[in-house]
């Protein structure tokens, strides 16, 4: 690595504007006050998105803007390399997602904290960012030779072309090029972010990849204070001293072990959630233990993260899929390519999820849409003729057919073209009541987490502005409520009865709990850092993060101002959706969860008498209209968002006082 030529501070943040229609780039500095008001990353992206993508913008047209955002802690040892990717979703909502890796720190070292991409290129291009003594920061390069390549092929081709091992990339696969529903943006081969369709938007712009290389250093404002705050955080992540019950599990084996816990709890979606339990022997076959024993070749962490589990690399050595390589077997895959389609063949599971990564598909989209199609098949709404000869049965008897189907979805070929729409749009094509088999909210598929046994999850999924996204209120599972005392809650200004809040199927206190979880995760993702690191105080006590922010930036923000930044972000996201016409009626659980009890466990459906009071409590706690879900003028004024209230008024949107 080259020696640092310049050292940056963390008070001001820069943005690189790229217009693909004009072929121009321009580097600007954002107002310094934004760092205190929106922190960075997801918070600044929310502000930028609201300001630069007006209501009614065509999501796949030139006026949609795709933002990549780092933040003041990125490139420091607590940022974990997180970045936020945001734009207007092709479904019309906010699209925002976070991902880790090494791209964010490299952006900061190149002197670019945000990238804003608008316009559409007349032929495929990639953006190359590199700091240099001449002041040239970015250039657009021809990418016609990369268009159509899979993600792993794109990574390899760019590495050969740029011949610098320290260049970091973000790219899309064939799925996003073909505007397939929910396609995310990839990097470091197996990291992805922005499953709300950010990859689709990148594809619509003709932008295949972004490459970045920087040489600058990053200096914290108060070194001693930063080191002191970092020591506290580091102790919380240590296996020996952590108070987080998931640390030992996650840091070595990872989330696929949940497949062994969930069946007996009625929490594992099986056969498209027609059942919520699964044969325990099947669950053991796809859990982390056999995965580690037989397939893992290397543990790999995000930038400076002390946990080695999240990004394991694996290889199937022999047999039918011998030589197949992949990575990032986590909580999603055992559900979407395991129990959801009733598949206990771990190698098939690794191949299906690996192919999704290679073709640039979202595993949740593909898994849930496949399960929807299987249920349609069971009911005779789809036939083998419709499915190009594929026997679409739960239990996955036609394994070769499923493997062949993944590229067809990415290329929109034959039956793959129907599944490429996602289950909500595909159900409109098939009709005949198939909508009730579609497990999606706001047009986006679920993420494998149960709802009828965990009411805060049900509420969180329903109200999320981007569609189902567990990172907005993680963790979904009841950690030990005694990790934080009522006295500490009072000291933090949090009005919450944790005893009631942690009763999974009691609607009481779920709105308030979700509000605080959402605010705190918004803050963590704005710094940015990783939401997996906040469990030991339930993410409710953010003082360690506040101290890190102050030491890194030099902003003397008091704790309540720091917390207000998270609430401001929540309101900007809500306001974006309100401007697009979303209201209370759109904050719903999927039909199955609202109308069917959980068989065998006695967990009742999320009927209105259970669900509506939670919605009321959530909106009230947030200072939003209980009738419409629109933020009140008082709440917007309290957060310094009078401009949002003014825009509502200009558009004829009636916000309550």
């Amino acid at each position: 690595m080259a020696a640092a030529t310049t050292v940056r501070d963390n008070r001001t943040q820069t943005i690189l504007w790229v217009d693909l229609s004009e072929g121009s780039t321009r580097l600007e500095t954002l107002p310094e006050a934004w760092t205190a008001k929106y922190l960075g990353s997801r918070g600044v992206n929310a502000r930028l998105l609201f300001d630069h993508v007006p209501a009614g913008t065509d999501p796949l047209g030139p006026d949609n803007v795709l933002f990549f955002g780092t933040g003041p802690l990125d490139g420091l040892p607590v940022g974990m390399g997180r970045i936020s990717i945001a734009c207007k979703s092709p479904r019309g909502t906010v699209a925002e997602g976070s991902c880790g890796g090494f791209f964010g720190p490299e952006m900061r070292r190149a002197g670019v904290d945000y990238i804003a991409i608008r316009g559409q290129a007349d032929h495929p291009v990639y953006l190359y960012i590199q700091d240099s003594a001449s002041g040239e920061v970015a250039e657009l390069r021809d990418a016609r030779h990369l268009w159509g390549l899979k993600t792993d092929e794109t990574d390899a081709a760019l590495r050969r072309e740029l011949a610098d091992p320290d260049v970091q990339f973000r790219y899309i696969g064939p799925a996003a090029e073909n505007l397939v529903h929910a396609s995310p943006i990839f990097g470091n081969l197996h990291n992805s972010g922005g499953r709300a369709g950010c990859g689709q938007v990148m594809g619509s712009k003709g932008l295949k990849a972004i490459a970045v290389r920087g040489t600058q250093g990053i200096r914290v404002a108060d070194y001693d204070a930063f080191v002191d705050a970092y020591k506290v955080l580091r102790q919380r992540l240590d296996l020996a001293t952590s108070r987080d019950m998931w640390t030992p599990v996650w840091s070595t084996y990872g989330a696929p072990v949940l497949a062994r816990l969930f069946p007996d709890l009625g929490n594992l979606m099986t056969r498209n959630a027609q059942q919520m339990t699964w044969d325990y022997d099947k669950a053991m076959r796809i859990s982390s233990e056999p995965y580690l024993d037989s397939y893992v070749t290397k543990a790999k962490a995000c930038y400076c993260c002390p946990w080695p589990a999240c990004q394991k690399l694996h290889k199937i050595d022999s047999g039918k899929y011998g030589g197949f390589k992949g990575g990032n077997y986590w909580a999603a895959q055992p559900v979407v390519f395991g129990s959801l389609i009733d598949n206990d063949d771990l190698e098939l599971l690794l191949v299906l999820s690996g192919l999704c990564n290679q073709y640039g598909l979202d595993v949740f989209h593909v898994g849930y849409t496949l399960a929807w199609a299987m249920e349609c098949f069971e009911h005779g709404l789809l036939t083998t003729t419709d499915a190009d000869g594929l026997e679409l049965r739960f239990g996955c008897t036609d394994k070769d057919g499923l493997v062949d189907l993944i590229p067809k979805i990415a290329r929109r070929e034959g039956f793959g073209g129907l599944l490429a729409l996602g289950c909500a749009e595909a159900a409109k094509v098939v009709g005949q009541g198939s909508e009730r088999f579609c497990l999606a909210v706001k047009g986006q598929e679920l993420e494998g987490i149960p709802q009828r046994n965990l009411y805060m999850v049900a509420l969180g999924i329903a109200v999320s502005e981007v569609g189902p996204d567990h990172t907005r209120w993680y963790p979904p599972y009841p950690c030990n409520p005694s990790l934080i005392s009522p006295e500490e809650l009072a000291e933090l200004g949090i009005d919450l009865d944790l005893r009631l809040a942690f009763q999974g199927r009691n609607p009481e206190q779920k709105g308030k709990l979700l509000r605080w979880f959402t605010i705190s995760r918004a803050i963590v993702e704005s710094l940015p850092s990783c939401v997996f690191l906040v469990r030991d105080t339930l993410g409710l006590d953010l003082r360690p993060w506040w101290k890190l922010f102050r030491a890194a930036t030099g902003f003397d923000l008091d704790y309540r101002e720091f917390v207000a930044a998270g609430e401001r972000l929540m309101n900007l996201d809500r306001a974006f959706n309100v401007r697009e016409g979303y209201r209370r009626a759109d904050d719903r659980p999927p039909v199955r969860m609202a109308t069917e009890d959980v068989p065998g466990f006695g967990y009742p459906r999320l009927a209105p008498e259970r669900f509506e009071p939670m919605l009321d409590e959530y909106y009230e706690a947030n200072g939003w209209s209980v009738t419409t879900s629109i933020p009140t003028r008082r709440k917007l004024a309290e957060l310094g968002l009078d401009d949002v209230a003014a825009e509502f008024a200009a558009l004829g949107i009636e916000a309550e006082p």
Binding site: L239, D264, G266
Partner: protein, 90 residues
């Protein structure tokens, strides 16, 4: 004598070298069962019990299910165990 099914998850298997096993015991509680398993799998107790407070370690989890019942997260180590139960150690 009670017959239990014991399930070991993730890092716990580094001590037990198995994912599950049948176990016969006279232990009346989870705490006594953990002590018993410590003699078979040295270090097991340290993984689950805080030696100072004799309470469940904050970074450990135990689930107990009576026969035919949905598992419950155990917070109190004196939780009784019955014949036919399933205990899951995280």
């Amino acid at each position: 004598m009670k017959q239990l099914e014991l399930r070991y998850v993730a890092h716990v298997t580094t001590l037990t070298h198995c994912l599950l096993e049948s176990h016969q015991t006279t232990a009346p509680s989870i705490h006594a069962l953990v002590d018993e398993l410590d003699s078979r799998y040295p270090g097991f107790r340290d993984m689950f019990v805080n030696p100072r407070t004799e309470t469940l370690n904050l970074n450990a989890m135990i689930y107990y299910a009576a026969p035919g019942e949905v598992p419950l997260s155990v917070i109190d180590l004196d939780h009784p165990i019955g014949d036919g139960g399933t205990v899951t150690f995280w």
